[in-house]
Subunit: 483 residues, 2 copies
């Protein structure tokens, strides 16, 4: 089986060399095809940080093992890491955080054992990067959560949790505030949970989760979250076990998977053969597990744990009384410990079950549709208008434009209702949401909305609008605070 | 000076009684007017959880001291806590997290001393609660950050940091991903920082911040963040010092301030006189400081710290070998320790400087405008359309509607470009963003946008649109991933 390998920038090449040396010494049945990605590829003029050949190779092999990469700053180019994750739809980011004996933290010193797997949605949320200035004072980021995207992620998380015999799978969310977006994500979680009665599934508000992660991290096992919250929780968990240098990362898609170290490229120590390859090695182990090389994965991971337990360390961590080793020596120590069992967290060695790589070629993009759109109607529209006037003046003008189809039901500013009722203490910015609903409750069509828009545009700059839909008898929109 | 007091639900009345007893014993020169807020007010039919008399009293006094409150679930009512914060524009949430000797955590055991003040924006972000389902599969939350809202918050944070002689003030953000919204917040931070050269101001990506908070919390002092990130970081910090039972909260506005305990109402132990009043007492101390009663605040805080150091504790924390005391006894122990100095973190006792309450009545809502909107033009529009077709088919239809004013420049799905270039591996959902720009670079007007909308609506359901503005020569919108 062949995989694509991108060595990365800075310390990337030397830690990749160390990891591949360990793989080779363990007779890992993989071939490597090296591809061109990273800072020097940007510098050669490829604006997405990879050559067309690299892209083609990765797409044909389906697996990419990559070192840390740098994206040039101030050139307006997007991160090569993010581009790779999005373009190839690696919808799940899986990160395993476990206590490594030999890597001291306040938690390890307190005898608290951590073994948390964070599964983070990797495509949606504000990471879509869809942002607009609506007025000179008001910036908007469109945070979207989709049902098929959430289902895809959550199904993966449950399958993974089942395979690892997880004690618990927990959904972190903020559905008490983001009732529609995170509400949808949470609904998907509980829907999928029904298919896995053997797993203990529960949910927790994300702020409470973070408080509990720093007080009782040992109570969590698999945690699944949306993109930004997952990003924050992942790095928090990395801190619990010693930092990014000790945490692997896998980006899982249906066709292409990316295994990578997410720490920096450490240009200051690049080429000195002193960097710590642990995170990249753990990512590589995660890759071996993913492609079914579970025997190799277990032997190498046990050797790593044994090596760390025995006090061997690079210069960035470990007992200062024991002299540190360099990158090559660290790799050799692991190789010499193949077959040894660590005292804690030893992995069970099970024979390899390599999958047959399924060659595929997609003819077109997959359209993910999860819910039929029956029985829907438009019942109103939110018009986001720029104005520096007081709510009452705006209401008067809006009512004039409502015509025979609409009535003005509410005006809000930064989500708080300021008309027909509100408080004089609510400070305003120069962008209002004027909510219009169908005058007689009859369904509206796009022509009605256009009519209102044409009329309103005589008085206001309309920055943006959102339709108010009903799905059956359920409102598909939120009320303003105070409405 | 008179303040409004709401005792709260569950354990609220008994911990409030304990705190006011401590205040009275210390001759705090405050009068209390008790107001009706909380679950039992919802139950009486007041849908925002407070009586009109309560609202009037609080607005006339300008300060509210409140116990924990419950919002009835499943009745569609919004949280009384959130309503209060928004209606009265308490734009800054200030929370102080300090190591309390006597309250054991893994950090206190490791000898790491924590003293972090989190200042969180309290109105904006996805907490505006402006959410819509765009299709049956796609949910949207509008995350907005405003310039005047950010400036108001950040100015408060710097003033507060200056008063407390902070070693450092740090802005936590995700401006590497949310370049426009968090970019605006970060820009405001660095702009305000210029006026405070005596303070060491820096910024950090929020995920990195959370990793560092669990490894080196002692390196932070004042941290300022947007709403959701601030919510998460606040609770993380609460965990570092022992939980919500040991963390005060103050909501600061220009006219009205709210000081409250943010832990739960603990109905299971309500009325038993065993609850821990520490968080509410610390919130009360924060209130005393805010109204200039800094001598009372310091004496009471020192007595609290001394009491905790001496091993006195309620049943929920502390050394199990020392019998716990009840709520009343805990308050009495603090009263008996007035004038004593704790070994660590003792507060300097400075004479009171009570402010004169400035009676005010707002005639109208304040419109916050921070930037003049000169030299702006509309250069295009993003049309968010519902479709299950492939990108190429959509592009063909869209181009047909572009007319003589617009050209179709890009189609993206979940923020990733899928036309004119893209990857077949990008999975799609049934909502696309079709980006149209001015054909000849000339500025557009609303009539042009209406024309395009009318034409497109013949082929598609338009869920939503956003104008593409230029401010001077700067694009006021983001590019799609891959665009």
């Amino acid at each position: 089986m062949k995989i694509a390998v991108a060595k990365g920038d800075g310390i990337g090449p030397e830690i990749m060399e160390a990891v591949l040396k360990i793989f080779t010494a363990n007779n890992v049945p993989l071939e490597y095809e090296f591809v061109d990605m990273g800072k020097w590829v940007f510098d050669k003029g490829f604006s997405n940080g990879m050559t067309p050949e690299a892209k083609q190779t990765i797409e044909s092999l389906g697996a990419l093992f990559k070192g840390p990469m740098e994206t040039p700053k101030g050139k307006g180019v997007k991160s090569v890491n993010v581009t790779a994750r999005k373009t190839w739809n690696t919808y799940a980011n899986k990160r395993v955080f476990q206590t490594l004996h030999g890597v001291d933290t306040v938690f390890s010193k307190a005898g608290i054992n951590i073994d948390i797997t964070v599964v983070r949605e990797n495509i949606e949320d504000t990471y879509g990067g869809i942002e607009h200035m609506l007025t000179h004072d008001v910036a908007l980021s469109r945070r979207f959560i989709t049902r098929p995207g959430s289902m895809q992620l959550i199904r993966y998380a449950f399958e993974m949790a089942k395979k690892k015999n997880a004690r618990r799978i927990t959904c972190g969310h903020k559905a008490n505030i983001m009732k529609i977006t995170d509400g949808l994500f949470l609904e998907c979680f509980h829907e999928v949970a029904k298919d896995y009665p053997e797993l203990k599934a529960d949910d927790i508000i994300v702020d409470d989760l973070c408080m509990k992660l720093v007080t009782r991290p040992d109570t969590f096992d698999v945690v699944v979250l949306t993109n930004l919250q997952g990003d924050i929780v992942s790095d928090l968990c990395a801190g619990l076990v010693g930092g990014l240098g000790f945490a692997p990362s896998a980006n899982i898609g249906d066709h292409i998977c990316i295994f990578e170290a997410v720490h920096g490229t450490a240009p200051d120590i690049a080429g000195k053969n002193i960097a710590n390859p642990t995170a990249l090695l753990l990512s590589g182990i995660s890759m071996l597990q993913h492609v079914g090389l579970i025997e190799n994965a277990a032997i190498i991971e046990n050797a790593l744990l044994y090596t760390l337990e025995s006090g061997v360390h690079t210069g960035d961590f470990g007992d200062k009384k024991i002299p540190s080793v360099n990158t090559t020596q660290f790799a050799e120590a692991i190789i010499n410990n193949f077959g040894k069992q660590p005292k804690t967290n030893a992995k069970v060695v099970i024979p390899n079950k390599p999958g047959t790589p399924a060659p595929f070629k997609l003819a077109q993009n997959s359209m993910m549709i999860s819910r039929e759109s029956t029985d829907e109607k438009i019942v109103g529209v939110d018009m986001f208008i720029e104005s520096e006037e007081q709510p009452l003046q705006i209401a008067k003008k809006c009512e004039r434009h409502a015509g025979v189809k609409f009535k003005l039901v509410s005006i809000s500013n930064r989500g708080t209702q300021v008309w027909p009722t509100g408080s004089v203490y609510t400070n305003l910015v120069n962008q209002y949401n004027a909510r219009f609903e169908s005058l007689d409750g009859d369904p509206l069509n796009q022509q009605d909305v256009i009519g209102l828009y044409v009329s309103l545009s005589g008085n206001f700059k309309i920055c943006s609008f959102e339709l108010l839909n009903m799905w059956g008898d359920k409102k598909a929109y939120s009320l303003a605070q105070g409405q």
